[in-house]
């Protein structure tokens, strides 16, 4: 018996795009045109073009790509919402899609009735639903409201109930869309935990998402789609970083060519690397994670008191922040030869987004544009959700919890201890 849970065998999906004709002046005209437009061969659009891949049992596969790359079509094909135009899809086992939670809810019916309704739409048997009802209600945290019509539910309650039903499907193969973005943060982490449980239980997972952090956390392997074609398959980190590099499009200010050409270049920047805490090279990091930046240079001449700087620009071209060797009093004197400067940030403060990077070597106190070397917009740093806060940046912080005790003397030792326990680093 094959251990491949999913096989895509040269699958293509064509959509017919019927050209919208302008309504005629007379009814007769319009009618004739409608008939003609029915007969006319419309333009073909291949949403998925000759795609083949396999998913072995227990693997978590991510599918990423731009809007219109064919991700959603693959999801629809897999969940049998629409049929392929050619090719063959083989599915071994019970497949459930967590596509949009709350599908099939009816506002007039109570939560309980809707569990049965939505559950059976998702392919559960009544017996099965009855057995799982308590657990579904518990998970959704809706015990009090289960007999209230869902039209009285808040949108959060609605979504919780929907996800809870879907989370109890108990499939062999799980299809996930952007469902992780539902409910409040607490519920989201609960959802993710449930999905992780399913993964640990050896379920096969196909996850289609824009949220690269979530893909990175969940998936073993990633497919990159572009205009309906499968352009890359590989280990998650590798594909994601390629995708990031290929996709960052910036409001690029024109490079100040003349200034850059007139630079003396006694020393040149030759390489740049971003590394995480484990020293692994990457181009995407989470807010709050440690980041080290290594800038390599080659010097042809002696440079006195050089300053290395790294600039981060957001997508709108704004300078967001800067790493520099200038602030500390320490001098860097460059001798002919090669070397490197390493910056270390214990906690990355930039919020999620893509940042372009400028690198410079300058003399201390040099005016802007009078650097020794300037690498203009030479790299991209992607910051993913991590310690994400509201505001402009994440400020590394710690906190402590203190309760005022009335009888301080008697409880002092106890208070000391609990303070010690509660003190926490975020």
């Amino acid at each position: 018996m094959s251990n491949l849970d999913l096989e895509f065998n040269h699958v293509s999906k064509r959509y017919r795009v019927w050209q919208q004709q302008e309504a005629g002046l007379t009814t007769r005209n319009a009618f004739v045109r409608r008939l003609q437009s029915l007969r006319k061969r419309a333009q073909d659009f291949w949403a998925v073009k000759d795609v083949s891949f396999e998913v072995p049992r227990g693997e978590a596969l991510g599918i990423i790509g731009h809007n219109g790359a064919g991700k959603s079509t693959i999801l629809k094909l897999l969940s049998n919402i629409t049929s392929p135009t050619s090719g063959e899809i083989t599915i071994r086992g019970r497949l459930s899609a967590l596509i949009e939670v709350g599908s099939g809810f009816h506002p007039e019916l109570s939560g309980r009735e809707n569990v049965y309704l939505s559950g059976s739409i998702l392919g559960m048997r009544r017996r099965e639903i009855t057995k799982k009802l308590d657990s579904i209600v518990e998970f959704a945290e809706l015990r009090q409201f289960i007999d209230t019509p869902v039209k009285r539910y808040s949108s959060g309650m609605y979504v919780r109930l929907g996800f809870s039903i879907a989370a109890h499907l108990d499939p062999d193969i799980l299809l996930l869309d952007e469902v992780l973005a539902v409910g409040d943060a607490a519920f989201q982490s609960k959802c993710l935990q449930r999905i992780m449980e399913l993964k640990q239980a050896g379920k096969t997972i196909v996850f289609i998402s824009h949220d690269l952090t979530a893909v990175e956390r969940l998936c073993d392997r990633v497919l990159l789609m572009q205009r309906g074609e499968l352009i890359k398959t590989g280990p998650t980190r590798e594909v994601i970083s390629e995708y990031n590099q290929a996709t960052t499009s910036f409001v690029s200010s024109a490079p100040p060519t003349r200034e850059i050409e007139s630079l003396p270049r006694w020393a040149r920047i030759t390489d740049l690397a971003f590394r995480d805490a484990a020293g692994v090279m990457a181009s995407s990091f989470c807010s709050g994670e440690p980041l080290s930046v290594r800038v390599e240079y080659t010097a042809d001449e002696h440079v006195e008191d050089a300053v290395f700087e790294v600039f981060f620009y957001s997508q709108d071209g704004q300078l967001r922040c800067q790493l520099t060797t200038e602030l500390s009093g320490a001098r860097i004197d460059l001798e002919p030869g090669t070397g490197a400067v390493e910056f270390y940030c214990p906690e990355l403060s930039l919020l999620p987004g893509a940042y372009t990077v400028d690198l410079t070597i300058a003399n201390r106190g040099a005016l802007a544009g009078t650097a020794i070397d300037w690498q203009f917009r030479c790299a991209t740093l992607c910051v993913e959700k991590g310690k994400t806060v509201r505001g402009d940046f994440y400020m590394p912080h710690q906190w402590q919890f203190r309760r005022e005790e009335k009888d301080a003397a008697r409880n002092s030792s106890h208070t000391e201890r609990s303070l010690g326990e509660l003190a926490s680093k975020v």
């Binding site: 018996m1 959509y15 629809k76 094909l77 969940s79 049998n80 919402i81 629409t82 049929s83 392929p84 135009t85 050619s86 090719g87 063959e88 899809i89 083989t90 599915i91 071994r92 086992g93 019970r94 497949l95 899609a97 596509i99 949009e100 599908s103 099939g104 009816h106 007039e108 019916l109 009735e113 049965y116 309704l117 059976s120 739409i121 998702l122 392919g123 559960m124 048997r125 009544r126 062999d172």
Partner: protein, 295 residues
């Protein structure tokens, strides 16, 4: 092994770890017997959805109306009153001695089942566009639930029929049991037309718009307000090709007159209904393959 236990057993097998899993192959729709039986097997698997959704239809339909389920009775009843007014007070319709009220109701009862089912089922797919583009389930369940809900209305409205028969002292004979096969065939026919119309409605919304007119014409082409005997003999051969003729006329014959059904006529209706049902199912499944793209 009946199809009923097959689904059960497969589920049991799936519950056990290491059990062989069901293999599903998805490809472009093609007309094969194997594909068709596979489709039917899927429908059997989803029978709980059919049940839940049908109950849901019945519950929701009258949920926010004052009269509630009384509407199921009011519709054929008010039609009966109108036609009785016209055809017994204004024009006299020969009914073979039966009071016109009960004569009309005997036909309006199955006719209302047919027309309500058709009106609702035709829109069955379109009104669930949201669901269809998000979740897979055998789509024929949607029109089928409307047929089942209408059948339920039919049962409620039948109580009035029984009341009328008592009131007018129309005695039932054992032949009245023929209504059971007649209703079965009628349900087949209603299902066939519902499948066909609901699938067509997805691409051509004209069907839904034309529905009231179509049903009106169809009713007058069926012996509902008049007896079959009133149709000129030379037209009857063509007239009887309408399967509703055999069904409605026989329904009236076995209930009101205690007569044996006209088996030739009923046989013709049965043949047409069954053939149409198979054809409609095949057509529906073909449309289903791309319904999410078009809807």
């Amino acid at each position: 092994m009946s199809s009923n236990t097959t689904a059960e057993q497969i589920e049991e097998m799936l519950a056990r770890p290491g059990a062989p899993r069901r293999v599903t192959t998805l490809r472009a729709p093609s007309l094969t017997l194997k594909g068709l039986t596979g489709d039917f097997f899927k429908l059997v698997q989803y029978r709980d959805l059919l049940y839940t959704l049908s109950v849901h239809r019945i519950k929701v339909r009258y949920k926010q109306s004052v009269l509630g389920a009384a509407w199921a009775i009011l519709q054929p009843l008010s039609l009966m009153l109108i036609y009785t007014l016209i055809f017994s007070l204004i024009v006299r319709m020969p009914t073979g001695g039966t009071p016109y009220a009960v004569f009309a109701y005997a036909a309006l009862l199955p006719w209302t089942f047919f027309s309500t089912a058709l009106v609702n089922a035709t829109n069955g797919l379109v009104t669930h566009a949201q669901l269809i583009t998000k979740v897979y389930f055998p789509r024929e369940i949607l029109p089928l639930t409307y047929v089942i809900a209408s059948l339920f209305d039919f049962l409620i409205a039948s109580t009035v029929f029984a009341g009328l028969m008592l009131y007018y002292h129309v005695a039932l004979t054992m032949r009245a049991l023929y209504v059971l096969p007649i209703i079965l065939i009628l349900t087949c026919f209603v299902t066939a037309i519902s499948l066909f119309f609901s699938a067509t409605q997805v691409r051509f919304r004209d069907i839904g718009v034309a529905m009231p007119l179509l049903l009106q014409l169809w009713m007058f082409a069926t012996p509902v307000v008049y007896p079959l005997s009133a149709v000129p003999a030379r037209l009857q051969a063509v007239y009887k090709l309408n399967p509703m003729v055999g069904l409605i006329e026989n329904f009236r014959q076995v209930t009101l007159y205690g007569a044996s059904p006209d088996l030739t006529l009923l046989g013709l209706s049965t043949l047409i209904s069954v053939l149409l049902l198979v054809a409609a199912y095949v057509y529906f499944k073909r449309v289903e393959a791309t319904v999410a793209d078009v809807i």
